[in-house]
């Protein structure tokens, strides 16, 4: 019922793969209401993270997350770079020195990560951003803690909540980020950042399904 250092690294590697596979999909979503680069940006960033795997492999989870964050920060660019960079850096600070994460640890890491994104991007729930996927995901983790669910179930619930949040962005009119320039015309499209957030959390649930 916990995630160890190697498993954390597995998640990161799986993210590299998943974001590579979804590069065109994310780009297409971004083409509709943005500038058609979210897929390429995330893929470039995680490919760079892949190059850091060797140097991370004997590190604690906090260092791993922080390294991922710093790498994303200097390779992704766009809105995604600082946001996901902050996400992982904050998660890393909360898990500094840890070789294993309990549900509590993960939840507080995600809490810090999301707070970092909100601080940086100032988006509110319903603005049609990644916050709309991450917020329900965090709430699901908190609920799971209250309900005393096992870690893998909590992760599953959180991924499912992220998915719902992601789908929930479709009817929304964007108020933050590039899609906001579109005004009403942004409605009817799924937000690319919410989608990449879902993919990352879904990958966590899948990688850690036996935890």
């Amino acid at each position: 019922m916990s995630i160890n250092r190697d498993e954390a690294l597995e998640w990161i590697k799986a993210c590299v793969e998943i974001l590579g596979e979804n590069r065109d999909y994310l780009t297409q979503l971004d083409a509709a209401i943005g500038d058609a680069d979210h897929g390429a940006n995330m893929d470039r960033g995680f490919k760079a993270v892949m190059g850091k795997i060797p140097e991370m492999s004997d590190k604690d989870i906090g260092t791993i997350f922080k390294t991922v964050g710093m790498t994303l920060l200097s390779t992704v660019g766009g809105a995604g770079g600082p946001l996901y960079g902050t996400f992982f850096i904050q998660a890393g600070m909360k898990t500094a020195g840890k070789m294993e994460l309990s549900l509590e640890d993960w939840t507080s890491a995600m809490d810090a990560a999301l707070s970092g994104i909100v601080m940086r991007g100032k988006a509110e729930l319903g603005d049609k951003t990644m916050v709309d996927a991450l917020t329900p995901a965090l709430n699901a983790l908190k609920q799971a803690m209250t309900d005393d669910l096992p870690l893998n179930q909590a992760l599953k619930n959180s991924a499912e909540a992220a998915r719902e949040g992601m789908v929930g962005t479709i009817p929304l009119v964007a108020r933050k980020g590039r899609a906001s320039y579109l005004g009403e015309r942004s409605a009817g499209h799924q937000d690319p950042g919410a989608t990449s957030s879902y993919l990352i959390l879904k990958t966590a649930a899948d990688t850690w399904s036996n935890s």
Binding site: T27, D35, D37, L73, P82, K176, R178, Y181
Partner: protein, 333 residues
């Protein structure tokens, strides 16, 4: 997609390599993190002026590095904001002890990346002021959204701020020049065709053979409306009217009129647009005292144009006329 490129992922790097061998007298290129910097940077006692943004808008920003304009420019991937480490290193490279001005176009990504860089630079003891350009009247402005995009005014801001810095004005004074451009400049653009981002490989949007997009962004972001293609004169009216209304420009105002190609529109068409824009400005009682006509803030090979109008005063006029020596703008030397 047909482009004169090798691998899509190498486009920006190879462009920078081209700049290295093309303009060693003017600029140096720093790789990893990438930025273009004046060959003679840092200049002691001079405010450093830097900008940056996604690539694909050339000559902005790298082509504006040189005497009287930018001290450094940070190119991101095509249409993607650069990363904080680029701006941090560029800021350090141009800091001559008088502080550094960041000219940032209003895009969430650009703002966040520049903000992080500014925080880091300040932590290293460098004074940084960031001014955000947001002149695109096509975008509805509101406190609750990301606001307007930064477009054509950015080029003008880089020119006059660069001149002010060259005159050894203080960081606050150079920033005030930038604030004036931000307050007095308005733009609007349109597209006849989409552009194709190299790593995407197909047009960002589909525009039927008889339609155009009014109010387009410089990254191919959809505009205000899509409609049947109109005549150059009608299009010019559609761009000028919201610009003039928005400031609002007043009877008797002196203005700089900037007709910009999105990349694929040749000069012959720009002059047809300029002719009508000038006429409209005149009819509105505005006095066009300076102009700029050409591809200065582009969107790869997109066909279309944008118009920027900047209200001028004596100081802006002097700063505009001040010598400049860059790849993209050059006069007086």
């Amino acid at each position: 997609m047909k482009k004169l490129i090798n691998k899509p992922d190498d486009v920006v790097m190879e462009e920078l390599q081209g700049i290295v061998v093309a303009h060693p007298d003017l600029v140096k290129v720093h790789f990893n993190p990438n930025f273009v910097v004046r060959a003679d940077a840092p200049i002691k006692g001079k405010v450093g002026v830097i900008s940056g943004g996604g690539s694909g808008h050339e000559p902005m920003h790298g082509g504006y590095v040189g005497y009287g304009m930018l001290d450094a420019a940070c190119p991101g991937a095509v249409f993607t904001s650069p990363t904080p480490d680029q701006m941090l290193e560029a800021t350090k490279a141009v800091n001559g002890g008088a502080g550094v001005l960041h000219i940032v176009k209003n895009y969430t990504g650009d703002i966040m990346n520049f903000e992080m860089a500014a925080d880091l630079a300040r932590a290293e003891g460098i004074e940084v002021v960031a001014i955000v350009t947001d002149d695109d009247v096509a975008v509805q402005d509101s406190l609750y959204t990301a606001g307007r995009r930064g477009v054509g005014s950015t080029v003008l801001a880089e020119k006059v701020c660069g001149a002010a810095a060259e005159q050894l004005r203080s960081l606050e004074q150079v920033a005030d020049v930038c604030r004036k451009v931000k307050a007095w400049g308005r733009s609007m653009g349109m597209a006849l065709t989409s552009c194709t981002v190299p790593h995407v490989g197909k047009p960002t949007f589909d525009l039927p053979e008889d339609e155009m997009e009014i109010g387009i962004g410089i990254h191919g972001e959809p505009g205000r409306t899509r409609m049947k293609v109109k005549s150059a004169d009608e299009i010019t009216e559609m761009l000028m009217e919201p610009i003039i209304k928005d400031l609002p420009f007043k009877h008797g105002d002196e203005v700089l009129l900037f007709v910009n190609s999105m990349g694929g529109t040749p000069p012959i068409e720009l002059y047809i647009i300029y002719r009508k824009a000038y006429e409209i400005a005149q009819k509105s009682g505005l006095k066009v005292v300076r102009n700029l006509i050409g591809p200065y803030i582009t969107s790869l090979e997109m066909a279309g144009c944008s118009i920027t109008m900047l209200k001028m005063d004596d100081d802006l006029l002097k700063l505009w006329d001040f010598p400049v020596k860059t790849v993209g703008l050059r006069w007086g030397m």
